[in-house]
Symmetry: C2
Subunit: 126 residues, 2 copies
C-alpha cells in the first residue's frame, strides 16, 4: 500500500494575510501551536509562508516592525494531495524545511504536511 | 539493515548558555540556519533547549527582554546515539517536535537529529 499526502496532512491550520504585522504572525503561530503560517491573498490563494524561523530572524535583525509580506518567503514549496508521501519526505529533506503546503490546482490550501507527522512511515530497515 | 541515530544525526551544531539574551538566541539560530538551540551549562552539559518557536512566543508575549533560561524548555527530549531511527521518528511524532538532542551518558551533546533528515527512510509502502 502506498500512502498519499492527503492521508498524512493536517486539515486544520491557521493562515495570515500579507499586510498583518510580524507581532500578529508571532501570536497566530503561538495560538496555532505551529512553526508554519501560510500567507493568503484576498481570494484565499497561497502567496507566501512565514515561519517561527522568519519571526526569529526579523527579531535578530531589528526588523520586527515590518509587515508579514516583507519578511515572508514568496516561493513556497508546495505539494499535491495525491502525491506519494515518500516523494514529500524527500522534498522536505532537499529544501531543509519542516512543512509543505498542500494546495489544489487554483492554489487554495487543503492542508499542511509536517515532517514530524511522517514518524510512522520511517522504516528502521534499509 | 537497521539505521541508527548516529548515522543520521548532524554533528555540527550551535549551542547557547542560559544567561544569554533572547536576542542573542535569535542571532545564533539565524547563524546556524536552524530552529533548535541546545542550552548548556559551564561543564557543557545539556540543561535545556530554545527554539525559533520559543523566540517567536517571547516576542508575541512581549517577553523578548528575558534571558534564555527564562524562556527555554527545561525537560529536553533526548536520544542515545545507538537508538534505531524508527524509534527516534516515533518520538518526534509523539512530542510534536522537530528535533531530538543526541547525548551521551554524561549529558554531553553528540549531535542533533532533525525530523526532515529522515526523508530517505520514509517508505511509501505501509
Ligand atoms: C530553509 S529553513 C532553515 C531552517 C530550518 N531548517 C527550518 O526547518 O526552518 C528556513 C526558511 O524556510 C522557509 N520555509 C519553511 N517552509 C517552507 C515552505 N514550505 N516553502 C518555502 N519556504 C519554506 C521559511 O520561510 C524560512 O525562511
Ligand atoms: C511542542 S513544539 C510545538 C510547535 C511545533 N510543532 C514545533 O515543532 O516546534 C514547541 C516547543 O517544543 C519545544 N521543543 C522542541 N524540541 C524539543 C526537544 N528536543 N525537547 C524538548 N522540547 C523541545 C520547544 O522548546 C518549544 O517550546
Amino acid at each position: 500500500y502506498v500512502y498519499h499526502v492527503n492521508e498524512m496532512m493536517v486539515s486544520t491550520f491557521v493562515t495570515i494575510t500579507g499586510q498583518e504585522s510580524v507581532k500578529e504572525a508571532a501570536k497566530r503561530l503561538l495560538k496555532g501551536e505551529t512553526n508554519h503560517l501560510p500567507v493568503i491573498d484576498a481570494e484565499n490563494r497561497l502567496i507566501g509562508i512565514v515561519t517561527t524561523y522568519d519571526v526569529s530572524k526579523a527579531f535578530a535583525n531589528d526588523e520586527q516592525d515590518m509587515t508579514v509580506s516583507e519578511i515572508m518567503t514568496k516561493n513556497v514549496i508546495t505539494i499535491a494531495p495525491d502525491a506519494p508521501v515518500d516523494f514529500a519526505a524527500r522534498t522536505l529533506q532537499q529544501h531543509n524545511i519542516g512543512a509543505l503546503v498542500v494546495i489544489d490546482a487554483s492554489r487554495h490550501i487543503l492542508g499542511m504536511l509536517n515532517s514530524y507527522d511522517l514518524g510512522d512511515l520511517v522504516g528502521g530497515r534499509g
